[in-house]
Amino acid sequence: MVQDRGLGPTLAAHPFFDDMDPVALETIVGCAANAVFRPGEFIFRQGEAADNFYLVREGRIALEIYVPGRQGGIVVETVEAGEIVGWSWINPPYRWSSDARAAATARVLTLDAACLRNKMEDDRTLGYELYKRFVPVMARRLAACRLRIVELATEPEG
Protein backbone atom coordinates (compact mmCIF):
# COMPACT_ATOMS: atom_id res chain seq x y z
CA MET A 1 0.00 0.00 0.00
CA VAL A 2 1.42 3.37 -0.96
CA GLN A 3 1.65 5.70 1.99
CA ASP A 4 0.49 9.24 1.33
CA ARG A 5 3.07 11.42 3.01
CA GLY A 6 1.34 14.63 2.00
CA LEU A 7 3.00 17.66 0.43
CA GLY A 8 5.49 18.21 3.24
CA PRO A 9 8.38 16.28 1.67
CA THR A 10 7.69 17.88 -1.73
CA LEU A 11 7.85 21.39 -0.31
CA ALA A 12 10.82 20.62 1.91
CA ALA A 13 12.77 19.28 -1.05
CA HIS A 14 12.13 22.34 -3.19
CA PRO A 15 15.04 24.83 -3.39
CA PHE A 16 12.70 27.75 -2.65
CA PHE A 17 12.02 26.35 0.81
CA ASP A 18 15.55 25.20 1.44
CA ASP A 19 16.67 25.60 5.05
CA MET A 20 13.33 27.04 6.12
CA ASP A 21 12.37 27.12 9.77
CA PRO A 22 10.58 23.78 10.32
CA VAL A 23 7.62 25.32 12.14
CA ALA A 24 7.14 27.90 9.38
CA LEU A 25 7.37 25.16 6.77
CA GLU A 26 4.74 23.14 8.55
CA THR A 27 2.40 26.14 8.49
CA ILE A 28 2.97 26.56 4.77
CA VAL A 29 2.34 22.87 4.10
CA GLY A 30 -1.03 23.32 5.72
CA CYS A 31 -1.84 25.98 3.12
CA ALA A 32 -0.62 24.00 0.09
CA ALA A 33 -2.54 21.98 -2.48
CA ASN A 34 -1.83 20.35 -5.81
CA ALA A 35 -3.37 21.78 -8.96
CA VAL A 36 -3.19 21.14 -12.71
CA PHE A 37 -3.88 23.68 -15.45
CA ARG A 38 -4.47 22.68 -19.05
CA PRO A 39 -2.78 24.52 -21.94
CA GLY A 40 -4.49 27.88 -22.46
CA GLU A 41 -6.24 27.80 -19.11
CA PHE A 42 -6.01 30.99 -17.06
CA ILE A 43 -4.58 30.64 -13.57
CA PHE A 44 -5.39 34.20 -12.61
CA ARG A 45 -6.43 37.41 -14.35
CA GLN A 46 -5.08 40.91 -14.08
CA GLY A 47 -6.89 42.90 -11.38
CA GLU A 48 -8.24 39.90 -9.50
CA ALA A 49 -7.52 39.39 -5.83
CA ALA A 50 -4.06 37.86 -5.37
CA ASP A 51 -4.96 35.24 -2.81
CA ASN A 52 -2.57 32.50 -3.95
CA PHE A 53 0.91 32.01 -5.23
CA TYR A 54 2.18 29.05 -7.18
CA LEU A 55 5.19 26.81 -7.25
CA VAL A 56 5.56 25.39 -10.76
CA ARG A 57 6.40 21.69 -10.59
CA GLU A 58 6.08 20.92 -14.28
CA GLY A 59 5.19 22.83 -17.43
CA ARG A 60 5.30 26.49 -18.28
CA ILE A 61 3.18 29.48 -17.29
CA ALA A 62 2.93 32.60 -19.45
CA LEU A 63 2.48 36.02 -17.87
CA GLU A 64 0.39 38.19 -20.15
CA ILE A 65 -0.44 41.87 -20.10
CA TYR A 66 -3.67 43.09 -21.67
CA VAL A 67 -3.09 45.82 -24.26
CA PRO A 68 -6.17 47.89 -25.17
CA GLY A 69 -6.97 47.97 -28.84
CA ARG A 70 -5.04 44.81 -29.49
CA GLN A 71 -6.55 41.39 -29.90
CA GLY A 72 -5.40 39.34 -26.97
CA GLY A 73 -2.65 40.22 -24.57
CA ILE A 74 1.12 40.19 -24.90
CA VAL A 75 3.20 37.50 -23.25
CA VAL A 76 5.96 39.32 -21.38
CA GLU A 77 7.53 36.42 -19.53
CA THR A 78 7.25 32.70 -19.05
CA VAL A 79 7.89 30.92 -15.79
CA GLU A 80 9.35 27.45 -15.90
CA ALA A 81 9.33 24.41 -13.65
CA GLY A 82 10.95 25.03 -10.31
CA GLU A 83 10.08 28.71 -10.24
CA ILE A 84 7.54 30.76 -8.33
CA VAL A 85 4.59 32.57 -9.87
CA GLY A 86 3.08 35.53 -8.09
CA TRP A 87 4.24 38.05 -5.57
CA SER A 88 1.29 40.43 -5.75
CA TRP A 89 -0.08 38.55 -2.77
CA ILE A 90 2.62 40.09 -0.61
CA ASN A 91 2.23 43.69 -1.82
CA PRO A 92 -0.83 45.83 -1.17
CA PRO A 93 -3.43 46.15 -2.69
CA TYR A 94 -2.97 42.42 -3.30
CA ARG A 95 -4.23 42.50 -6.90
CA TRP A 96 -2.67 40.64 -9.80
CA SER A 97 -0.73 42.89 -12.18
CA SER A 98 -0.93 40.49 -15.11
CA ASP A 99 -2.74 37.45 -16.40
CA ALA A 100 -1.17 34.04 -15.91
CA ARG A 101 -1.98 31.31 -18.33
CA ALA A 102 -0.71 27.77 -18.75
CA ALA A 103 1.42 27.66 -21.91
CA ALA A 104 1.64 23.90 -21.54
CA THR A 105 0.06 21.54 -19.05
CA ALA A 106 1.18 23.03 -15.77
CA ARG A 107 1.33 21.08 -12.55
CA VAL A 108 1.66 23.45 -9.64
CA LEU A 109 1.53 23.66 -5.90
CA THR A 110 -1.01 26.28 -4.94
CA LEU A 111 -0.21 28.14 -1.73
CA ASP A 112 -3.13 29.89 -0.03
CA ALA A 113 -1.69 33.36 0.26
CA ALA A 114 -4.72 34.94 1.91
CA CYS A 115 -4.38 32.43 4.73
CA LEU A 116 -0.62 32.98 4.95
CA ARG A 117 -1.02 36.76 5.03
CA ASN A 118 -3.17 36.49 8.13
CA LYS A 119 -0.81 34.04 9.79
CA MET A 120 2.19 36.26 9.03
CA GLU A 121 0.66 39.08 11.05
CA ASP A 122 0.82 36.92 14.16
CA ASP A 123 3.87 34.82 13.31
CA ARG A 124 6.74 37.15 12.43
CA THR A 125 9.13 34.23 11.91
CA LEU A 126 6.85 32.92 9.18
CA GLY A 127 6.70 36.39 7.68
CA TYR A 128 10.47 36.79 7.73
CA GLU A 129 11.03 33.36 6.18
CA LEU A 130 8.70 34.19 3.29
CA TYR A 131 9.99 37.72 2.72
CA LYS A 132 13.56 36.39 2.83
CA ARG A 133 12.73 34.13 -0.06
CA PHE A 134 10.52 36.36 -2.11
CA VAL A 135 12.70 39.46 -2.08
CA PRO A 136 15.58 37.77 -3.96
CA VAL A 137 13.10 36.44 -6.53
CA MET A 138 11.73 39.94 -7.03
CA ALA A 139 15.22 41.43 -7.22
CA ARG A 140 16.34 38.86 -9.75
CA ARG A 141 13.31 39.41 -11.94
CA LEU A 142 13.68 43.18 -11.74
CA ALA A 143 17.35 42.91 -12.74
CA ALA A 144 16.45 40.59 -15.60
CA CYS A 145 13.74 42.99 -16.71
CA ARG A 146 16.21 45.90 -16.73
CA LEU A 147 18.66 43.86 -18.76
CA ARG A 148 15.94 43.10 -21.25
CA ILE A 149 15.33 46.83 -21.60
CA VAL A 150 19.05 47.32 -22.28
CA GLU A 151 18.95 44.49 -24.76
CA LEU A 152 15.98 45.91 -26.59
CA ALA A 153 17.66 49.30 -26.65
CA THR A 154 21.07 48.11 -27.82
CA GLU A 155 20.68 44.95 -29.82
CA PRO A 156 19.45 45.45 -33.33
CA GLU A 157 16.35 43.87 -34.71
CA GLY A 158 16.94 40.86 -36.86
Binding site: G72, E77, T78, P156
Partner: protein, 291 residues
Protein backbone atom coordinates in the same frame (compact mmCIF):
# COMPACT_ATOMS: atom_id res chain seq x y z
CA UNK B 1 47.43 45.82 -20.08
CA UNK B 2 45.57 42.57 -19.29
CA UNK B 3 47.14 40.30 -16.72
CA UNK B 4 47.33 37.33 -19.02
CA UNK B 5 48.65 37.37 -22.57
CA UNK B 6 46.25 37.15 -25.43
CA UNK B 7 45.64 33.58 -26.34
CA UNK B 8 47.48 32.50 -29.44
CA UNK B 9 44.48 31.13 -31.24
CA UNK B 10 44.69 29.42 -34.50
CA UNK B 11 44.99 32.60 -36.59
CA UNK B 12 42.60 31.47 -39.25
CA UNK B 13 43.01 31.54 -42.95
CA UNK B 14 44.68 34.60 -44.44
CA UNK B 15 44.02 36.26 -47.79
CA UNK B 16 45.59 34.49 -50.73
CA UNK B 17 49.40 34.82 -50.46
CA UNK B 18 50.75 37.55 -52.70
CA UNK B 19 47.38 39.18 -53.00
CA UNK B 20 47.04 42.88 -52.31
CA UNK B 21 45.10 43.00 -49.04
CA UNK B 22 44.07 46.58 -49.76
CA UNK B 23 42.39 45.89 -53.10
CA UNK B 24 38.95 44.29 -53.15
CA UNK B 25 38.53 41.12 -55.19
CA UNK B 26 35.46 41.19 -57.43
CA UNK B 27 32.73 38.76 -56.38
CA UNK B 28 29.37 38.25 -58.00
CA UNK B 29 26.16 37.96 -55.99
CA UNK B 30 24.71 34.56 -56.91
CA UNK B 31 21.84 34.63 -54.45
CA UNK B 32 20.08 37.15 -52.27
CA UNK B 33 17.87 35.87 -49.48
CA UNK B 34 15.69 38.18 -47.40
CA UNK B 35 15.88 37.02 -43.81
CA UNK B 36 13.99 39.09 -41.21
CA UNK B 37 13.15 42.77 -41.64
CA UNK B 38 16.24 44.71 -42.69
CA UNK B 39 18.46 41.64 -42.83
CA UNK B 40 19.54 39.80 -45.95
CA UNK B 41 22.03 37.10 -46.87
CA UNK B 42 24.33 37.08 -49.86
CA UNK B 43 25.89 34.10 -51.49
CA UNK B 44 28.96 35.30 -53.36
CA UNK B 45 31.22 33.62 -55.90
CA UNK B 46 34.62 34.93 -56.92
CA UNK B 47 34.65 36.35 -60.43
CA UNK B 48 38.06 34.80 -61.02
CA UNK B 49 36.77 31.38 -59.91
CA UNK B 50 39.35 31.03 -57.17
CA UNK B 51 38.31 29.38 -53.91
CA UNK B 52 37.16 31.52 -50.97
CA UNK B 53 38.87 30.03 -47.96
CA UNK B 54 37.85 31.30 -44.54
CA UNK B 55 37.39 30.02 -41.01
CA UNK B 56 34.40 30.42 -38.67
CA UNK B 57 34.61 33.71 -36.82
CA UNK B 58 36.50 35.60 -39.49
CA UNK B 59 35.21 38.56 -41.45
CA UNK B 60 35.62 40.12 -44.86
CA UNK B 61 35.60 43.77 -45.83
CA UNK B 62 32.74 44.00 -48.33
CA UNK B 63 32.63 46.85 -50.82
CA UNK B 64 29.62 48.33 -52.53
CA UNK B 65 31.48 50.03 -55.34
CA UNK B 66 30.92 53.74 -55.39
CA UNK B 67 29.45 53.72 -51.91
CA UNK B 68 31.80 52.26 -49.35
CA UNK B 69 33.18 49.28 -47.48
CA UNK B 70 32.07 47.52 -44.29
CA UNK B 71 33.32 44.58 -42.20
CA UNK B 72 30.89 41.65 -42.27
CA UNK B 73 31.36 38.31 -40.54
CA UNK B 74 31.32 35.14 -42.54
CA UNK B 75 28.03 33.37 -41.84
CA UNK B 76 28.04 30.32 -44.13
CA UNK B 77 29.63 26.90 -44.11
CA UNK B 78 33.37 27.50 -44.35
CA UNK B 79 33.94 23.96 -45.60
CA UNK B 80 32.37 25.06 -48.87
CA UNK B 81 35.15 27.07 -50.44
CA UNK B 82 33.25 27.66 -53.66
CA UNK B 83 31.10 30.38 -52.19
CA UNK B 84 31.08 33.06 -49.52
CA UNK B 85 28.01 33.66 -47.42
CA UNK B 86 27.42 36.90 -45.55
CA UNK B 87 24.35 37.98 -43.61
CA UNK B 88 24.06 41.75 -43.55
CA UNK B 89 21.87 44.10 -41.58
CA UNK B 90 20.94 47.29 -43.42
CA UNK B 91 21.75 49.95 -40.87
CA UNK B 92 23.95 52.56 -42.55
CA UNK B 93 24.44 54.06 -46.01
CA UNK B 94 26.74 51.30 -47.25
CA UNK B 95 24.62 48.38 -46.05
CA UNK B 96 21.44 50.08 -47.24
CA UNK B 97 23.02 50.39 -50.67
CA UNK B 98 23.98 46.74 -50.47
CA UNK B 99 20.40 45.85 -49.63
CA UNK B 100 19.36 47.21 -53.03
CA UNK B 101 21.85 45.13 -55.00
CA UNK B 102 20.42 42.27 -56.96
CA UNK B 103 21.63 38.88 -58.04
CA UNK B 104 24.38 39.26 -60.59
CA UNK B 105 25.77 42.49 -59.16
CA UNK B 106 29.49 42.65 -58.49
CA UNK B 107 30.83 43.62 -55.08
CA UNK B 108 34.32 43.74 -53.63
CA UNK B 109 35.76 41.43 -51.01
CA UNK B 110 38.96 41.91 -49.00
CA UNK B 111 39.90 39.20 -46.59
CA UNK B 112 39.36 36.99 -44.75
CA UNK B 113 40.68 38.75 -41.69
CA UNK B 114 40.82 38.15 -38.00
CA UNK B 115 41.20 35.26 -35.62
CA UNK B 116 38.74 32.43 -35.93
CA UNK B 117 36.73 30.54 -33.36
CA UNK B 118 38.78 27.71 -31.84
CA UNK B 119 37.32 24.45 -33.06
CA UNK B 120 40.14 21.92 -32.88
CA UNK B 121 41.04 23.17 -29.42
CA UNK B 122 37.62 22.39 -27.92
CA UNK B 123 37.13 18.78 -28.98
CA UNK B 124 35.86 16.64 -26.16
CA UNK B 125 34.06 19.48 -24.43
CA UNK B 126 30.37 20.28 -24.16
CA UNK B 127 29.69 23.24 -26.42
CA UNK B 128 27.24 26.01 -25.50
CA UNK B 129 26.27 28.81 -27.86
CA UNK B 130 24.73 31.97 -26.39
CA UNK B 131 23.48 34.56 -28.82
CA UNK B 132 20.63 36.78 -29.88
CA UNK B 133 19.20 38.45 -32.96
CA UNK B 134 21.84 38.90 -35.64
CA UNK B 135 24.54 37.61 -33.30
CA UNK B 136 23.69 34.18 -34.64
CA UNK B 137 25.25 35.10 -37.99
CA UNK B 138 28.93 35.04 -36.89
CA UNK B 139 28.28 31.88 -34.86
CA UNK B 140 26.53 29.98 -37.61
CA UNK B 141 29.72 28.77 -39.34
CA UNK B 142 30.99 27.44 -36.03
CA UNK B 143 27.69 25.70 -35.29
CA UNK B 144 27.76 24.11 -38.75
CA UNK B 145 31.32 22.89 -38.25
CA UNK B 146 30.66 21.52 -34.77
CA UNK B 147 27.57 19.67 -36.00
CA UNK B 148 29.49 18.32 -39.00
CA UNK B 149 32.07 16.95 -36.57
CA UNK B 150 29.45 16.06 -33.95
CA UNK B 151 31.14 12.97 -32.59
CA UNK B 152 34.16 15.02 -31.48
CA UNK B 153 32.20 17.00 -28.91
CA UNK B 154 30.06 16.39 -25.83
CA UNK B 155 26.66 17.98 -25.48
CA UNK B 156 25.81 20.77 -27.91
CA UNK B 157 23.38 23.42 -26.72
CA UNK B 158 22.23 26.55 -28.53
CA UNK B 159 20.58 29.39 -26.56
CA UNK B 160 19.13 32.01 -28.89
CA UNK B 161 16.96 35.02 -28.23
CA UNK B 162 15.12 37.47 -30.43
CA UNK B 163 12.80 40.40 -29.91
CA UNK B 164 9.70 38.56 -31.01
CA UNK B 165 8.48 35.59 -32.98
CA UNK B 166 8.67 37.68 -36.16
CA UNK B 167 12.43 38.22 -36.21
CA UNK B 168 14.00 34.89 -35.41
CA UNK B 169 17.04 34.70 -37.67
CA UNK B 170 17.75 31.46 -39.55
CA UNK B 171 14.51 30.02 -38.18
CA UNK B 172 14.66 27.07 -40.55
CA UNK B 173 18.18 26.24 -39.34
CA UNK B 174 17.07 26.47 -35.72
CA UNK B 175 14.24 24.04 -36.44
CA UNK B 176 16.70 21.69 -38.16
CA UNK B 177 19.17 21.85 -35.30
CA UNK B 178 16.40 21.38 -32.75
CA UNK B 179 15.21 18.34 -34.69
CA UNK B 180 18.53 16.58 -34.22
CA UNK B 181 18.59 14.02 -31.43
CA UNK B 182 22.06 15.14 -30.36
CA UNK B 183 21.51 18.89 -30.06
CA UNK B 184 19.45 21.01 -27.64
CA UNK B 185 18.09 24.32 -28.83
CA UNK B 186 16.48 26.91 -26.57
CA UNK B 187 14.79 29.80 -28.32
CA UNK B 188 13.41 32.67 -26.28
CA UNK B 189 11.70 35.89 -27.35
CA UNK B 190 11.15 39.14 -25.50
CA UNK B 191 7.51 39.39 -26.35
CA UNK B 192 4.94 37.11 -27.93
CA UNK B 193 1.26 37.12 -28.78
CA UNK B 194 -1.25 35.77 -26.32
CA UNK B 195 -1.38 31.98 -26.42
CA UNK B 196 2.26 31.57 -27.44
CA UNK B 197 3.56 28.34 -25.96
CA UNK B 198 7.28 28.94 -26.24
CA UNK B 199 9.70 30.61 -23.86
CA UNK B 200 9.47 34.37 -23.25
CA UNK B 201 12.24 36.11 -21.37
CA UNK B 202 15.96 36.62 -21.50
CA UNK B 203 18.60 34.40 -23.06
CA UNK B 204 20.31 34.37 -19.67
CA UNK B 205 17.32 32.45 -18.29
CA UNK B 206 17.86 29.82 -20.99
CA UNK B 207 21.55 29.62 -20.07
CA UNK B 208 20.57 28.87 -16.48
CA UNK B 209 18.67 25.77 -17.46
CA UNK B 210 20.92 24.51 -20.27
CA UNK B 211 21.91 20.89 -19.66
CA UNK B 212 25.67 21.04 -19.73
CA UNK B 213 28.51 19.92 -17.55
CA UNK B 214 29.75 23.38 -16.54
CA UNK B 215 33.21 22.10 -15.71
CA UNK B 216 33.62 20.64 -19.20
CA UNK B 217 31.92 23.31 -21.25
CA UNK B 218 33.31 25.76 -23.78
CA UNK B 219 30.87 28.60 -24.31
CA UNK B 220 30.63 30.86 -27.34
CA UNK B 221 28.93 34.21 -26.80
CA UNK B 222 28.00 36.52 -29.64
CA UNK B 223 25.93 39.45 -28.44
CA UNK B 224 26.11 43.21 -28.38
CA UNK B 225 28.82 44.51 -26.06
CA UNK B 226 26.13 45.63 -23.63
CA UNK B 227 24.76 42.10 -23.36
CA UNK B 228 28.05 40.18 -23.40
CA UNK B 229 28.79 40.81 -19.74
CA UNK B 230 25.36 39.60 -18.55
CA UNK B 231 25.81 36.49 -20.67
CA UNK B 232 29.24 35.88 -19.13
CA UNK B 233 27.76 36.41 -15.66
CA UNK B 234 25.00 33.89 -16.35
CA UNK B 235 27.64 31.40 -17.49
CA UNK B 236 29.76 32.09 -14.43
CA UNK B 237 26.74 31.36 -12.22
CA UNK B 238 26.69 27.93 -13.83
CA UNK B 239 30.37 27.40 -13.20
CA UNK B 240 31.70 28.08 -16.70
CA UNK B 241 34.86 30.07 -16.05
CA UNK B 242 36.00 32.91 -18.27
CA UNK B 243 38.92 30.91 -19.64
CA UNK B 244 36.33 28.73 -21.33
CA UNK B 245 34.16 31.52 -22.67
CA UNK B 246 34.82 32.93 -26.14
CA UNK B 247 33.31 36.04 -27.59
CA UNK B 248 33.57 38.15 -30.69
CA UNK B 249 33.97 41.91 -30.66
CA UNK B 250 33.50 44.15 -33.64
CA UNK B 251 33.90 47.83 -33.14
CA UNK B 252 34.67 50.46 -35.76
CA UNK B 253 36.74 48.19 -37.97
CA UNK B 254 37.88 50.15 -41.03
CA UNK B 255 41.06 48.76 -42.59
CA UNK B 256 40.73 45.18 -41.37
CA UNK B 257 44.50 44.75 -41.05
CA UNK B 258 45.46 46.59 -37.87
CA UNK B 259 46.79 49.76 -39.47
CA UNK B 260 44.20 52.50 -39.02
CA UNK B 261 43.70 52.05 -35.28
CA UNK B 262 39.93 52.62 -35.33
CA UNK B 263 39.20 49.26 -33.73
CA UNK B 264 41.81 49.55 -31.02
CA UNK B 265 40.65 47.93 -27.79
CA UNK B 266 43.19 48.53 -25.10
CA UNK B 267 46.44 47.00 -26.35
CA UNK B 268 44.68 44.98 -29.05
CA UNK B 269 43.21 45.60 -32.45
CA UNK B 270 39.90 43.84 -32.91
CA UNK B 271 40.49 43.26 -36.62
CA UNK B 272 43.83 41.56 -36.02
CA UNK B 273 43.93 40.24 -32.45
CA UNK B 274 40.19 39.54 -32.61
CA UNK B 275 37.43 39.59 -33.43
CA UNK B 276 37.40 36.33 -31.48
CA UNK B 277 38.74 36.64 -27.96
CA UNK B 278 38.91 34.30 -25.02
CA UNK B 279 37.04 36.30 -22.42
CA UNK B 280 39.57 36.06 -19.60
CA UNK B 281 42.13 37.81 -21.81
CA UNK B 282 39.94 40.89 -22.18
CA UNK B 283 37.91 40.74 -18.99
CA UNK B 284 39.63 43.68 -17.35
CA UNK B 285 39.33 45.78 -20.48
CA UNK B 286 35.66 44.99 -20.73
CA UNK B 287 34.86 46.88 -17.58
CA UNK B 288 36.71 50.03 -18.59
CA UNK B 289 34.40 52.77 -19.74
CA UNK B 290 37.18 54.84 -21.28
CA UNK B 291 37.92 52.32 -23.98
Amino acid sequence: MPDSPLVALAPGVSPVPGEDIHTPRPFRIVQVKREVAGVFTWKLAACDGNPCACRPGQFNMLTAFGVGEVPISVSGDCRNQGELVHTIRAVGPVTRAMENLKRGAVVGVRGPFGRSWPVDEITGYDVLFVTGTIGLAPLRPLILEVLARRQEFGKVVICYGSRGTHDILYEADLHTWRGRFDTNVHVTVHVAPSGYRGRVGSVAAAVRIARIDPLSTQAFVCRSEAMTRPAVDALAERGVTTDRIWTTLERSMKCGVGLCGHCQFGPTFMCKDGPVYRFDTIERLFGMREI
